[in-house]
C-alpha cells in the first residue's frame, strides 16, 4: 500500500511540477511590435478611447505563459519601471497569443497600462518577474513614422524565430508575418503534410488517457476488492477462545463441536458470504416504488 501511495504521490507531483514549470516559462515571450505615436485618424484605441503608443507582447511557445509580475521599461538602469500586476487571469497568454500594453503614462488605469509613454530612439525592455533578467527588447527607431509600428516578423513560423525587424503597418493582437492568418489546418498541411506527426501524437495521447484510467481503476479495483486489507492472522483472539471454551463446558455433544468447527472454518478462512451491518431499518431505496407519488412532487423552493 505504501509503495502504491508513493507511486501515486510521485506521479501527481511530477504532473503538478510539469504544469507549474510550463506556466512560468516567460522566456518564450517577445516584444513583437511597438507603436510610438499612433495615427491621428485610424488608430488602435485603449479601453478609455485614447490613442496612445502601445507594445505588443507575443507568446511564441506552444504552452500557456503568464506574464503577470513581469516588468516593462524604457530605461536600462531602471528595469522595474512599470510592472504588470499579478492575479489578473488576462495576463495568461495561450499558445501563439498576444497582448497589447498601452503606454498611457498612468499604470493605475488597469493591468495593461504602463506608467511611461513611448519615445522614439529609446529601447523597450521586457523584464522577467525577478526584476533582473531581460527577456526581450525592441529598439524604437528615431525616424519611425507616426502611425507606423516597428515590428518583429517570423520568417520561420515552425521555429518561431523572429529575426526580421522592420517598420510596418500596425497589426495589434495578430501574428506578424506572412503566415499570420493561416488556419490550423493550413499550418498542419505545411508542417505535417503526410500526417505522421499528428498521428503519432494522437495515438500516444489516446493511449496515455486510457492508460491513466487503467491505472486509476486498477488501483481502485484492488482497494474495493480488499486486496490491501490487512490479512487475518489465522489465530483466534482471546475473546473467541473464551467463548468456545464456555460453549464446550456447557454442552459436550457432537453437534456443538460440529457447529463450532464450521463457524471457525468460515471465520478463519474468510469464507463468510458478506458483511452484514446488523442494522435493521426501512430505507428509502431508489429502486423502490413504495413512495413513488412523493417522488413526482416538486419541492417548494426555500426562501
Amino acid at each position: 500500500m505504501n509503495r502504491t501511495l508513493k507511486t501515486i504521490i510521485t506521479l501527481a507531483a511530477t504532473v503538478f511540477a510539469g504544469t507549474a514549470l510550463r506556466a512560468q516559462n516567460v522566456s518564450d515571450l517577445i516584444i513583437s511590435e511597438v507603436v510610438a505615436v499612433p495615427d491621428s485618424v485610424v488608430s488602435f484605441k485603449d479601453d478609455f478611447g485614447q490613442a496612445n503608443g502601445w507594445i505588443e507582447v507575443f507568446n511564441k511557445s506552444q504552452g500557456t505563459v503568464n506574464f503577470g509580475g513581469c516588468f516593462v521599461t524604457d530605461d536600462i538602469h531602471n528595469l522595474k519601471k512599470s510592472s504588470i500586476p499579478k492575479g489578473d487571469l488576462r495576463t495568461k497568454l495561450g499558445p501563439r497569443q498576444s497582448a497589447v500594453l498601452y503606454a498611457s503614462g498612468d499604470s493605475r488605469q488597469g493591468t495593461f497600462y504602463l506608467n511611461f509613454k513611448i519615445e522614439k530612439g529609446k529601447t523597450i525592455y521586457l523584464v522577467s518577474n525577478d526584476g533582473k533578467s531581460i527577456i526581450d527588447s525592441l529598439g524604437v527607431p528615431q525616424n519611425l513614422a507616426d502611425g507606423k509600428a516597428i515590428a518583429k516578423f517570423a520568417n520561420d513560423k515552425k521555429e518561431m524565430i523572429f529575426d526580421d525587424i522592420h517598420e510596418a503597418d500596425p497589426t495589434p493582437m495578430s501574428i506578424n508575418g506572412k503566415h499570420g492568418s493561416e488556419s490550423k489546418s493550413q499550418i498542419m498541411a505545411r508542417e505535417d503534410p503526410h500526417g505522421y506527426t499528428l498521428t503519432a501524437t494522437s495515438v500516444a495521447v489516446v493511449f496515455f488517457a486510457l492508460i491513466i484510467l487503467y491505472i486509476i481503476y486498477g488501483i481502485s479495483g484492488e482497494i474495493f476488492k480488499g486486496t490491501f486489507k490487512r490479512k487475518k492472522s489465522g489465530k483466534i483472539d482471546d475473546e473467541t477462545a473464551a467463548a468456545i471454551a464456555m460453549a464446550l463446558d456447557m454442552d459436550d455433544n457432537g453437534e456443538t463441536y460440529a457447529a463450532i468447527a464450521a463457524a471457525l472454518e468460515l471465520y478463519l478462512h474468510d469464507t463468510v458470504h458478506d458483511n452484514e451491518s446488523f442494522v435493521l431499518t426501512i430505507q428509502d431505496s431508489p429502486a423502490s416504488e413504495w413512495r413513488n407519488k412523493a417522488l413526482t412532487f416538486r419541492k417548494a423552493p426555500r426562501n
Binding site: A209, L210, I216
Partner: protein, 380 residues
C-alpha cells in the same frame, strides 16, 4: 380558360416532376434502400429509418426559393439542422448513451481499456489515407473519425472541421455501424486461430455501487484534463452515467436514456439524411469518403484483434485474452460486442464473451471521444 392553363403551367413549374433530375431519383432510391435494410434486415433501424426517410425528404426536387429546403435559412428543416451544424445534438446523444451504459465490465477489468485505445488506429489510418488522396488536414480528420464507429462523434467533429462533408461522413459512419457484423466477422476469423478463439476468460467481478459512482467523476476529470477539447462529448457521457449510477437522479437518468435520446436521435437522423441533397452528396469526394470509411473500420478491427494477439504473447496462461474481443474496441455499442459473442460461440457454444467484450466496447466510446478532442484541438 387561357388563364387557367397558364396557372396550371405555372403550378407545374413548382412541382417536383418538373424539377426532377436523375440524381434526385438516385438519392431517393438510396433512401428507400436504407429504410428497406432497416426494416427487413433490422440493421440499426433506429438510425437508418430516419436517415433513409431524411434522404427522401432532402431530395424531393423543388423550385428554389420556397424556403423549405434544409439549406435555406429560416426554413423549418434548416432550424432543426442547426443542432447538427452547431454540434449540439451529439453531446445530447452522449448524455443518453452515458445514462444507458453500464460501465461495470470496464471497471472490473480496466486492463481491457487498452484494446479500446488500439482500435482507434482506424481513425488515424483513415486520416493518413485521406491526406494521401488529397484531402486537406481538417477534412482528413473529419473523415478519419468514421473509424471511431461512433455516429454522434463523427457528426460532432465533421460539423466543426468540414461541414461540407458532414452528410457523406455521417451517412458513411452510420452505414458501416449498421454493417459491423458483416465487416468485422471475416476479419476476426482470418486473424485468429481456432485455439485462440477457444480462450476462456473469467467472468468480470461484481462491481460495487461506490465504484460505479466514482467512475464517471474520476473518468471525466482525468480525460477532460488531458483533452479539454473533448469536453462536450466526454462531459455529457460521464454526466449521463453519473445520473444513472448515483441512484438519486432516477428520473433524470430515465429521461436522458429514454425520451431525450429518442427525440434527438430522430432529429439527428432525419436532418442528416435530409442534408444529403444530391448536388452536395453525389460527388467524387463522397465516394472517396465511403471507401475511406470502410477502410477505417477494417483498420480499426484489425488493430484491435492484432493488439490482443500481441499482448497475449506477454501474458501468462490463465490471464490470456480471447482476441475475438479485439474487434469490440471500435465503439459501435453494443453491436461490436455482440459480434464477439456470436463469433466466440461459433467456436465454443459455452464460451460467452459478451461481458468481457463490453469492456473494450465502452472504452472505445471514451477513446473515440478523446481522439475527436485531439483532432479538434489540432485542426479546428
Amino acid at each position: 380558360m387561357h388563364q387557367i392553363v397558364d396557372s396550371l403551367q405555372q403550378f407545374w413549374q413548382f412541382t417536383g416532376f418538373a424539377n426532377c433530375q436523375i440524381v434526385n431519383l438516385i438519392m431517393i432510391v438510396i433512401g428507400v434502400a436504407f429504410i428497406t435494410m432497416a426494416i427487413v434486415k433490422e440493421w440499426e433501424p433506429l438510425l437508418l429509418v430516419p436517415i433513409g426517410f431524411g434522404m427522401i425528404i432532402g431530395n424531393i426536387p423543388m423550385f428554389p426559393g420556397l424556403n423549405v429546403s434544409i439549406y435555406e435559412d429560416g426554413s423549418v428543416l434548416n432550424i432543426l439542422y442547426q443542432g447538427v451544424r452547431q454540434g449540439w445534438y451529439p453531446p445530447l446523444i452522449f448524455l443518453g448513451i452515458g445514462a444507458m451504459t453500464d460501465f461495470s465490465a470496464l471497471i472490473s477489468q480496466p486492463r481491457l481499456m487498452l484494446i479500446g485505445a488500439a482500435a482507434q488506429m482506424g481513425i488515424f489510418g483513415a486520416y493518413l489515407l485521406a491526406l494521401t488522396l488529397g484531402f486537406a488536414p481538417n477534412e482528413a480528420g473529419a473523415i478519419g473519425i468514421i473509424g471511431g464507429a461512433d455516429g454522434p462523434t463523427a457528426i460532432f467533429l465533421s460539423s466543426k472541421l468540414a461541414p461540407d462533408l458532414m452528410g457523406a461522413i455521417a451517412v458513411s459512419a452510420y452505414s458501416y455501424m449498421a454493417l459491423v457484423p458483416v465487416i468485422q466477422r471475416p476479419i476476426m476469423l482470418a486473424l485468429t486461430t481456432k485455439k485462440e478463439r477457444l480462450i476462456k476468460m473469467p467472468r468480470p467481478r461484481e462491481v460495487s455501487q461506490k465504484e460505479k459512482v466514482i467512475f464517471p467523476i474520476v473518468g471525466f476529470i482525468m480525460t477532460a484534463f488531458i483533452v479539454p477539447s473533448g469536453l462536450p462529448l466526454l462531459g455529457m457521457l460521464f454526466f449521463g452515467n453519473l445520473l444513472k449510477e448515483s441512484g438519486v437522479t432516477r428520473r433524470l437518468a430515465e429521461t436522458a436514456r429514454g425520451p431525450l435520446i429518442d427525440v434527438v436521435t430522430t432529429l439527428i437522423g432525419l436532418t442528416v439524411g435530409a442534408s444529403t441533397q444530391a448536388d452536395k452528396f453525389l460527388t467524387g469526394n463522397s465516394l472517396k469518403i465511403f471507401a475511406l470509411g470502410l477502410l477505417s473500420f477494417i483498420i480499426a478491427t484489425t488493430c484491435g484483434v492484432l493488439f490482443v494477439k500481441i499482448w497475449n504473447l506477454f501474458l501468462k496462461e490463465g490471464q490470456k485474452i480471447n482476441p475475438l474481443i479485439g474487434n469490440a474496441g471500435v465503439s459501435a455499442v453494443p453491436d461490436s460486442a455482440r459480434v464477439s459473442e456470436v463469433v466466440g460461440r461459433e467456436s465454443d457454444p459455452k464460451n460467452h464473451l459478451l461481458m468481457n467484450a463490453m469492456a473494450p466496447n465502452v472504452a472505445g466510446v471514451i477513446g473515440s471521444a478523446v481522439a475527436a478532442g485531439i483532432l479538434l484541438s489540432f485542426l479546428g
